[in-house]
Amino acid sequence: MENLIALLVAAPLLGAAVLLCGGRRLDAVGHLIGTALASVSFVIGAILFADMLGKDAEHRAMAQHLFSWIPVEGFQADVAFQLDQLSMTFVLLITGVGSLIHLYSIGYMEHDERRRRFFGYLNLFLAAMLLLVLADNYLLLYVGWEGVGLASYLLIGFWQHKPSAATAAKKAFLVNRVGDMGLSIAIMLMFTTFGTFAFGPVLEATGETGEGKLTAIALMLLLAACGKSAQVPLQSWLGDAMEGPTPVSALIHAATMVTAGVYLIVRSADIFNAAPDAQLVTTVVGAVTLLFGAIVGCAKDDIKKALAGSTMSQIGYMILAAGLGPIGYVFAIMHLVTHGFFKAGLFLGAGSVMHGMNDEVDMRKYGGLRKYMPVTFVTFGLGYLAIIGFPGLSGFFSKDKIIEAAFAKGGTEGWILGSVALLGAAITAYYMTRVMLMTFFGEKRWQPDENGHEPHPHESPRSMTIPMIVLAFGSVFAGGFFSIGDRFVHWLEPVTEHAHGHPPVSATTVTLATMVVLVIGVALAYVQYGRRPVPVVAPRGSVLTRAARRDLLQDDFNHVVLVRGGEHLTRSLVYVDHTLVDGVVNGTAASMGGLSGRLRKLQNGYARSYAVSMFGGAAILIAATLLMRAV
């Protein structure tokens, strides 16, 4: 059984290799190969899952050691896999949602002449992501970590002819690199502290070193997580990442890759548990981001950007939960999975809408689409209900638990975090309702585009709707399925030990509160967008709105501080290099030449002056000789 683990990664990797090196002759079948291999790895995942269920909880973890990667004196890095319940969860999520989105893309990318390449990149992403969650040491995880970064770079910038896409891709990679820096420093710290960076030994040895070291490691890991999971302050790339094709946004920037940060934290649970300060920082980051994302989500008219904001905010929830320690880990992962379903569904829905609307993304130019694309409407609607936490649907279970856990943190922090989480829930309800209303309700607001093409909204092809339907099922039932009898908790407990949090108020109170804020949010949105027609041109709006439209100005901040400053720095350095460092050398050469020119004048051609120099020389020689004797 263990030996199958490598195949999980190998299948999509093979796909990527074949598709990317295959050349044009594969154009016809490329998408099929890609989808096939993705599903192969899903099947393998399923087999392994079945096998795992066959064993009892304590002995479910499997490992596979492939080969020794970097053997250097005192430094051992292996290519080895570890498949425990946590990894298993991710494997199923990644391969499952991944396969669905492959399927979806067949239709979505039908008219793109570079479809083969697109599937190649998707397979590459799957391989990297699986490597990330299957690695048994941090360095190998790092490989997957940057691998998904690469895939995301390639896919965001897939329509490279659009400068905006290329820029967004570059931005995503760079911001992620900052996070990666954190990860590599964390690994170096582990190496100096523990002499290894394999999960097992490190996590076992956490007890044997000072809290300071562990806090440092944890914070570096958090930095990495922020980069990958678009958490404040490294969140800026996610919005722009929507330049990529919508399936990409669904798979990478909603369901899987962006949740890698959560995985990293949960995987390093022991380290965080031993570093409470770091945990506090984590919860703060999560809380801030969940508000930040939500606020941004409220202001965006671009449907994908709005969803991106929501993604940010939902991951904020997960990070918050992960920061809460044992009482939160499981729910972080659970929300991660449910979110994987409904957010992917929402994105696919958005994609389907754009597909019908000539790739129009401005929700102000939608309206009343429920008549034109019923399937999309229904699936999207279910996803919507799930995310706002409508009772009984997935989001309800997972998010509610996180809010509880937040309160359960206890003390003022508990209250603050809890209320933030509640507030977030309210805003979520608000902006998702807004999206729903602007897109599917009201009457049509679209006009012919500049070259007179009136969009003819229509339902998407089967290959696109089926995945949406499947995901909709997930969004509806997953949460319930997990929570009934705490299935999910028991499933994960062996990996991330679980503690029952005890909120200061009873769980039911929390749930009720959640319901209340939920209603408020929905009502507000309805008042604003349901009752009166939505203006086609966005009103100027309040300061907050305008700031939110610009991602709360932090892009402008980056631009001013980092970009401008960096440009000035490099320019001045180029100048310095040319004038100073080079100038010194050229200067010496020049001065040497000048000296030569002057000395040369002595050679004036007059024999008598030569005689003078000889005479003087003789005098000096004699004088010097006598002097030598004198001293």
Binding site: M592, G593, R600, I620
Partner: protein, 549 residues
């Protein structure tokens, strides 16, 4: 004849003398010099009696044979163990036949042979009135451009006197490094200087410059030799003898002075120091050390290039030989006085030569300054005052002389309407026009610059190593710095030849006769051999590194 004998003869002339003890001459040990001088005299007779047409060939033949024979003699002496196992003081103490002497004589002779070849080159200039011409005036006596010169050219005259002159010069040079008393030193100095003065003056092209060079060289040379002579006088006054051995002993104080009554002059160190300084100055003039170097660029530029090449090579060898012997045999007791001074000279010579060369625009002047810089490097070896120092200098001189002759031989090939095109700008793009010549010249330049795998590097390494071991580390640093500076202008020439576009009106490269080809070929061969496998020659120089006293 010994001085005292004469003295007695002079005081008591009354009673008759029954016998004069004739001086004893070791002809065998003197044979190299004698052969060359003899050949020179024969050369003069040839000028007198052989018909003009055939003089050139006879002279060439005589010179080459004589030099070859002399070289054979040197080899024979060396094989006979002179210089290694036994060393002779010949001609009543006037001539030392020891390792350095033989090594340098050998070098000078080889340089002389190549010099003769370049002298005899007649293919470079276009044929004038149906007879081939060499680089020397048809009739040096006639005013340039005058009718008489035209006539001489038409008549196909050539200055074949250059060969005997050259032989005389070589003869003097052979004696110079082996002179074992100051008088011989002075005579040898004059014997090789005077012919060179004349040779400078007899260029076929640009004779005005040639004559100017001759005048400058002559006046300054005579000026310098006057200083030398006065220095000799003072040393004589100090020691009461001009023989190296005696002076050395007086300096060491191993023998007291002859006449205590004259203590104020006898053994008076002022005399010694001033005298020594003046003699050394004369030698430094010949090697072209700063500040006695100023004749070098002008003379090198003005003199006929073959003469320049020979002069640059052989004069340095001879002069450094004499300098070595003077400092190592006569004045070792004075080491602590002259060493610092010479260090100063070496430093200014290395730096001065290198720096001024940077802005030169004439290839011959450029090489002149480079030769000055090299004089500085060699001085570094001289200062080492160790047997290693001697042998390193010998090696350096050997290597350097071949590079120099080769380089100047190449210069003779690059010509335009006005004769040799010595201005650097005309060398632009030579590498495109005739890669081979340019490549050869590049090899020589790299050797000058001391790039590894050329003789220049081996030599430089040898002298610097000797200097460092001799405790003159500072010199090595300065030497390294000035080599860096020097590299700059050698590189400049290479850039010019290879990387700049050839001018349309650029010079042509004449195809020389086998004579010059041999000169250049030998130059290249020696440069590379001494660069890659110098061991044999180092051994040679090493064995030759001991002076007889």
């Amino acid at each position: 004849m010994s001085a005292t004998a004469v003295h007695s003869l002079w005081t008591m002339a009354a009673d008759p003398i029954d016998k004069i003890d004739a001086p004893k001459i070791e002809y065998g040990q003197l044979s190299p010099t004698l052969i060359v001088i003899g050949a020179a005299i024969i050369g003069i007779l040839v000028e007198a009696f052989v018909p003009r047409k055939s003089r050139y060939y006879v002279q060439l033949f005589v010179s080459v044979v004589a030099l070859a024979a002399a070289f054979a003699a040197v080899v024979g002496l060396a094989a006979g163990g002179y210089g290694t196992t036994k060393a002779g003081i010949a001609a009543m103490g006037a001539i030392a036949v020891d390792g350095p002497a033989l090594f340098l004589q050998g070098t000078i002779l080889l340089a002389g042979v190549l010099g003769v070849f370049t002298f005899a080159e007649r293919r470079l200039d276009p044929v004038a009135h149906g007879n081939r011409v060499d680089s020397f005036a048809a009739q040096a006596a006639s005013v340039p451009g005058s009718d008489s010169e035209q006539a001489a050219v038409k008549a196909g005259f050539t200055t074949t006197e250059v060969f005997p002159l050259l032989l005389f010069a070589i003869g003097g040079m052979l004696v110079f490094p082996s002179a074992n008393d100051l008088l011989t030193l002075f005579i040898a100095l004059e014997v090789f200087s005077l012919p060179l003065y004349l040779l400078c003056a007899v260029a076929r092209r640009k004779r005005i410059m040639s004559q100017e060079a001759a005048v400058k060289y002559f006046l300054l040379g005579a000026f310098a030799s006057a200083f030398t002579l006065f220095g000799i006088a003072l040393l004589y006054g100090y020691a009461g003898s001009v023989s190296y051995a005696t002076i050395a002993q007086v300096v060491d104080g191993t023998i007291g002075t002859v006449n205590p009554a004259l203590a104020d002059t006898m053994g008076n160190d002022a005399l010694l120091l001033i005298g020594a300084a003046m003699v050394v100055m004369g030698l430094l003039f010949k090697v072209g050390a700063v500040p006695f170097h100023m004749w070098t660029p002008d003379v090198y530029q003005g003199a006929p290039t073959p003469v320049t090449g020979f002069m640059a090579a052989a004069t340095k060898v001879a002069a450094f030989g004499a300098l070595l012997r003077l400092l190592y045999v006569v004045l070792p007791g004075l080491r602590w006085d002259w060493r610092p001074v010479m260090m100063g000279v070496a430093v200014v010579t290395m730096l001065g030569g290198a720096i001024v060369a940077i802005t030169q625009t004439d290839i011959k002047r450029l090489l002149a300054y480079s030769s000055i810089a090299h004089a500085g490097f060699i001085l570094a070896g001289v200062i080492a005052t160790t047997p290693d120092g001697v042998s390193s200098v010998l090696f350096y001189l050997g290597a350097y002389s071949f590079v120099t002759i080769g380089a100047f031989a190449v210069v003779t090939l690059v010509r335009d309407a006005g004769g040799e095109a010595t201005h650097l700008s005309k060398w632009a793009g030579l590498g495109r026009r005739s890669p081979l010549v340019a490549a050869v010249f590049a090899v020589f330049l790299l050797a000058f610059a001391g790039i590894p795998l050329t003789s220049g590097f081996a030599g430089k390494f040898a002298v610097f190593k000797a200097a460092a071991e001799g405790g003159a580390g500072a010199l090595v640093v300065v030497g390294v710095i000035s080599s860096a500076i020097a590299a700059f202008f050698y590189i400049r020439v290479i850039v010019l030849m290879f990387f700049s576009e050839p001018r349309p009106e650029g010079p042509t490269v004449a195809v020389p006769s086998p004579l010059t080809m041999t000169a250049i070929g030998v130059g290249v061969a020696v440069t590379l051999v001494l660069g890659v496998a110098p061991q044999y020659f180092l051994d040679l120089a090493g064995q030759a590194g001991v002076f007889v006293r």
